[in-house]
């Protein structure tokens, strides 16, 4: 039997856990903690229990995308928000693996944070090292910023990196089969199932295959370079930097089209919306230009109807564009 009531032991365990993980912690604190932990099996069980609960709650990090930095005070409607994000969150929950607090048992694993946006979402991250990352729609990435190196995994989607240059601590992005090493840069990476596309806006960067069987050489990128890489192929295209900057209009929630086919425009809109835009074959090659809100399909459809004389039909979650 323990001397203290279970309630007191539980409170003490939560207290130790909280102090140990969220505040400055010295070797002295640690030995004091070890003394408490080993004083009773009740203490040990209670601490393991708190730690296990916190680990379980890690799954909540998928909600991160719904919390804007300026509104990070806990939303009053947090319940409805989760239902809204529910579907995306449930899927993401199965793949999210973040360690948000130091474990009872010390490991060599540095801390990893996971960030995700849902379809139509957009988020800006300010990392502790001064780097800024803009996450586009339906994107997930993990960060691991330690004293020794800065590492980000782009699991899916698209992100724009404005890296704070620090020669001693290279900034590395792992995207599927390739590694992008920054040499002080602004660049955007888009990853889909088959390939990655790296566009360099400013500075210099280097792209390597991670498990190169082909011994493919590193690609050194200059501004305006677009590297398209898949498991067994890597090529570099040249584009005007102005075009690349325009491609970043998603950061303002805009889609910019210049003589873009309706088919391609629909692909773009469909990346940002649950509601889908369907273009039938007879109209897919028609071209359109203009700047549109990426979350406003009906506005776009209305313009297409006026300019191109196409027919618009709405069926529930779908908007269909076809020949008049």
């Amino acid at each position: 039997m323990s001397d203290l009531s279970a309630r007191e032991v539980k409170a003490a365990a939560a207290d130790w856990f909280e102090r140990r993980n969220f505040w400055n912690w010295t070797a002295e604190n640690e030995s004091e903690f070890a003394g408490w932990l080993n004083a009773s099996l009740a203490h040990r069980a209670a601490y393991v229990r708190v730690e296990a609960a916190w680990k379980r709650a890690e799954r909540l990090t998928v909600m991160k995308s719904s919390l804007h930095p300026q509104t990070a005070r806990v939303p009053q409607s947090s319940r409805s928000r989760v239902w809204f994000f529910g579907a995306a969150a449930a899927v993401a929950a199965t793949i999210v693996a973040a360690i948000g607090a130091t474990s009872l048992w010390p490991t060599a694993e540095p801390e990893t944070q996971t960030y995700a946006t849902m379809v139509g979402g957009r988020e800006t991250l300010a990392l502790t090292d001064g780097t800024k990352i803009d996450l586009n729609t339906d994107t997930q990435l993990r960060t691991q910023i330690t004293a020794r190196e800065r590492k980000v995994w782009l699991d899916k989607g698209e992100a724009y990196f404005q890296v704070k240059h620090d020669a001693a601590h290279p900034f590395i992005v792992i995207a599927g089969t390739h590694r992008i090493t920054d040499l002080g840069t602004k660049f955007v990476i888009r990853r889909d199932a088959a390939q990655i596309e790296v566009s360099l806006v400013e500075g210099r960067a280097q792209v390597d295959a991670i498990n190169s069987k082909t011994n493919a050489p590193s690609v050194e990128m200059m501004p305006g370079d677009v590297v398209v890489a898949s498991a067994n192929r890597i090529e570099t295209l040249k584009r005007p930097v102005a075009t690349l900057s325009q491609d970043l209009s998603w950061r303002q929630g805009l889609l910019v089209f210049k003589r873009t086919t309706l088919g391609e425009a629909a692909n773009q809109f469909n990346r940002y919306n649950r509601e889908k835009l369907i273009v039938d074959r007879s109209t897919a090659q028609l071209k359109i230009g203009g700047t549109f809100q990426s979350d406003n399909i009906s506005d776009f459809a209305e313009v297409a109807r006026e300019v191109l004389g196409v027919r618009i039909q709405r069926h529930g979650e779908q908007t269909e564009i076809s020949h008049q």
Binding site: S5, A11, D15, E30, S40, A45, V50, A57, R59, M63
Partner: protein
């Protein structure tokens, strides 16, 4: 017996000896904790004084740990409820309050408890919903601190800046929030809130 220089002595971080998660900790978190709600139900059903239940759970855990340090039980569920039953018998004998016969014997326990608990069937979506519900039940300030720590990944100091509260106050909210969340995720938190 000669000591070989390469004997398997742990020369790692001195604190690791005290701190390393034993297999028992891992086993306890994985096999025993998910049964806590069922254990509390069992104890509430078989023990007259409900305010004792939390302490009884603690004592069951101590016994589980003591046993597991000798040998990890092969059937955690059966072992847990047998331990709980034996604890109640010991207590009852000492207090001379209830007839021991009122308790199920290990055989019937075994049958009654053989069905997998709901915890085992929990799927990812239910888990997220449950977590969210637990979060929603926290007092506002506790919840805010927990959200900023767990979801936003902020440190205590950053949370105190964000909430505009003194660090000691944040520490208090966060610690209480973590304790309450833990209770909700594993047993049922006492509805009367203790007092």
């Amino acid at each position: 017996m000669t000591e070989t220089p390469d004997s398997k002595r742990d020369t790692a971080d001195p604190r690791s000896a005290a701190m390393t998660a034993s297999d028992v900790d891992v086993w306890f978190a994985r096999e025993v904790l998910p049964l806590e709600a069922a254990l509390m139900q069992f104890l509430q059903h078989h023990w007259r004084n409900r305010s004792d239940v939390e302490d009884l759970v603690q004592d069951v855990y101590i016994r589980m740990y003591e046993a597991a340090q000798k040998e990890i039980p092969e059937h955690p569920r059966k072992f847990l409820f047998t331990t709980a039953r034996n604890l109640l018998i010991d207590r009852a004998r000492r207090a001379q309050i209830i007839p021991i016969e009122a308790l199920p014997d290990p055989e019937t326990l075994d049958i009654a408890l053989d069905t997998p608990g709901p915890e085992r069937n929990a799927i990812a979506r239910d888990e997220l919903r449950r977590l969210q519900e637990a979060l929603d039940r926290l007092p506002a300030r506790n919840r805010e601190a927990v959200v900023l720590a767990r979801i936003e990944g902020l440190t205590g100091r950053e949370i105190s800046q964000r909430m505009g509260l003194a660090e000691a106050t944040v520490s208090h909210h966060l610690s209480n929030g973590i304790a309450a969340l833990t209770d909700m995720l594993y047993g049922d938190a006492p509805k009367d809130g203790g007092k």
